[in-house]
């Protein structure tokens, strides 16, 4: 298919050249990689083009843009489908925003774009950013000192974020938002020293977060709901086999939600129907796993009924919002219908598992089973709300979660511009020679049932 497109492009280019009245400046036409079959659809940076942006602009679907070591002070915008953009060395191919440029690489509406094996640092907004796409892949990426999100997939479906490292973002190291079903996987990611290790607003539906590490953030994994994005609420995220620890880090950059969530490992804030299973969670000042509401002030809409839970995002976007006069001052997104099973949780300041809200939490449909824990709030939560069979009928007020602790003043945000510089990270195998692999085969299948509780790291 790329060959056909290339032929068409060559013919078109020839026709334009013949028909041209004035002759434009050459725009990438000098690149040996473009239109030259000797490179087989590979465009080299800087040999063929000095900048990544120029290479992207010259590329056609299916091309590989191969970037040599260097510091590239640019903000790259991608609007061409099915590109593979790859650095030859993850730690030496560096996009640097100089704390002035907004996004490292932003892919807007271009499907199937894969970004591999490079680092983005010092951007005021996002490191690697896909928006409005079908098919995306982030592999062997590093981000640090980024003003909003490290790796950011918004309003995008069919994605894979893998073998990547993010740190020093005040919002979240990794974010997937506004999609249902997302059909996306986060696998083998390390996220640390961020406001939130993971944030996912109004996302879910075949969305897996597996085999990853979230540590030294203010809060670890935080799926959340709110009407400040479309497609609310967050629902049906599967969180399995992750290491989540020491998310009490007081010196990270942090937005207000990260300050509010500080001291919690896995925190579905107003999340619905999530599966949280076989994670190892330890060393948190408040809860290991906390099911909490998200109170949204000045909301744009009310909470939709549970009967809308299966509504795809594509349909929800077109729904009218409630009459503003009927929207309460504070809209409360409650955590409901979540399943918390088989996790190993220890060293939690308030409770290994806690649930609290402004309403009677006994009716929210969450369940808890087979967790290796020593405390819950309310007391004996697995008996009150088991995942199989009827609850004990016990007292939900005994040992109830003290929500005031969550509202206590937290250390203020650190400066993302001075957050830690990470060590070198693992390179993608065979980066120089591997063929282009656009994100047309994502997400890959994950055998969730085969994932076991990860071991505790020896140094933690």
């Amino acid at each position: 298919m790329p060959t056909t497109r290339r032929l068409f492009a060559v013919l078109l280019a020839g026709a334009l050249a013949l028909a041209a009245c004035g002759g434009d400046d050459d725009d990438g036409g000098s690149a040996e990689g473009e239109g030259d079959s000797s490179d087989g659809g590979t465009i080299n940076v800087p040999d063929d083009h000095d900048t990544i942006q120029a290479a992207v602009d010259a590329a056609e679907p299916g091309d590989l843009i191969l970037i040599q070591p260097g510091t590239y002070e640019e903000s790259v915008s991608v609007t061409t489908d099915e590109l593979t953009i790859r650095g030859v060395d993850r730690n030496e191919v560096i996009l640097d925003g100089g704390f002035e440029l907004d996004n490292g690489i932003r892919v807007t509406g271009a499907s199937g774009v894969a970004i591999e094996n490079m680092t983005a640092r010092n951007y005021t907004k996002n490191g690697f950013f896909w928006t409005g796409v079908e098919g995306y892949r982030a592999s062997y990426l590093t981000t640090y000192r980024i003003g909003d999100y490290g790796i950011y997939a918004f309003d995008s479906v069919k994605g894979l974020i893998e073998h990547s490292y993010t740190s020093g973002s005040p919002d979240a190291g990794v974010y997937i938002g506004q999609c249902y079903p997302c059909d996306a996987v986060i696998d083998n990611v390390v996220s640390e020293h961020n406001g939130l290790g993971y944030s996912g607003t109004n996302s879910g539906g075949n969305l897996l977060i597996v085999n990853s590490t979230f540590r030294f953030n203010r809060a670890g994994i935080v799926p959340n709901s709110g009407s400040y994005e479309l497609c609310y609420p967050e629902r049906d995220t599967t969180i399995v086999g992750n290491l989540v620890y020491s998310n009490n880090q007081a010196d990270t950059p942090a937005i207000d939600v990260a300050l509010l969530g500080m001291g919690n490992g896995i925190l579905p804030a107003g999340g619905v129907g999530n599966t949280i299973e076989r994670n190892r969670v330890f060393d948190h000042d408040l809860t290991g796993i906390g099911l909490l509401p998200f109170p949204e002030e000045d909301a744009n809409d009310v909470v939709p009924p549970a009967s809308d839970d299966d509504q795809p995002c594509s349909e929800a976007k077109g729904e009218p919002t409630a009459d503003p006069a009927t929207i309460p001052d504070t809209v409360v997104w409650n955590p409901r219908d979540n399943r918390v099973i088989g996790n190993v949780i220890e060293d939690s300041g308030m409770a290994d598992i806690g649930i609290g809200s402004l309403v009677d939490v006994s009716g929210l449909g969450n369940c808890f089973a087979d967790n290796d824990i020593s405390s819950t709030a309310p007391t004996d939560l697995e008996a009150l709300a088991p995942c199989d069979g009827q609850g004990s009928g016990g007292d939900w007020t005994a040992g109830a979660l003290d929500l005031s602790k969550f509202l206590a003043e937290k250390p203020p945000s650190g400066d993302y511009k001075t957050s830690p510089v990470p060590d070198d990270q693992e390179n993608m195998p065979d980066a120089e020679d591997a063929p282009a692999r656009p994100a047309t085969d994502v997400p890959r299948d994950i055998d969730v049932d085969a994932i076991e509780v990860p071991d505790r790291p020896s140094d933690a």
Partner: protein, 144 residues
């Protein structure tokens, strides 16, 4: 506030009946008595437009979309954008006219307004979360 969804089909049918055999992308604009904001003839009315008959007309900037994305207002209407997201956004005119607001003056909770006195199709975007034609974009259709 009264809001009415107007389908592109409706606009196109109206355009067809008024402009007869025109058949190009500008038919809807021409039928509506509109001109494009930059005087060119290469812009078209978007797929769906919300007609707003109140002044001011309100547009909300969420993360990361404008709602309603496309609106139609009478000439002389003040349009007010309010950032009700949690992220920073801006409002930039695609054709470089002298309206719009930068990030510094459009933080979460902030508002910006502009009065559109002349009929036309005014396209805009957030440069952080979109390009001029994809991502976080919007259109103001000003009727004469």
């Amino acid at each position: 506030m009264k809001r009415t969804i107007v389908s592109l089909l409706g606009l196109v049918l109206a355009a067809g009946s008024l402009a007869a055999c025109g058949g190009d992308d500008d038919s809807a604009v021409a039928a509506s008595g509109l001109s494009t904001s930059n005087g060119s003839s290469d812009e078209s009315v978007p797929d769906d437009v919300v007609v707003i008959d109140t002044d001011p007309a309100e547009v909300t900037a969420l993360d990361n979309s404008f709602r309603p994305e496309n609106i139609e207002v009478p000439a002389g209407t003040e349009v007010v954008w309010t950032n009700k997201g949690r992220n920073e956004h801006n409002v930039l005119h695609v054709d470089g006219d002298d309206w719009g607001v930068e990030v510094e003056d459009f933080q979460p909770g902030a508002s910006y307004s502009h009065t559109f006195d002349e009929a036309g199709v005014y396209r805009y975007y957030c440069s952080i979360h979109g390009t001029t034609d994809a991502g976080m974009i919007g259109t103001i259709v000003v009727s004469g």
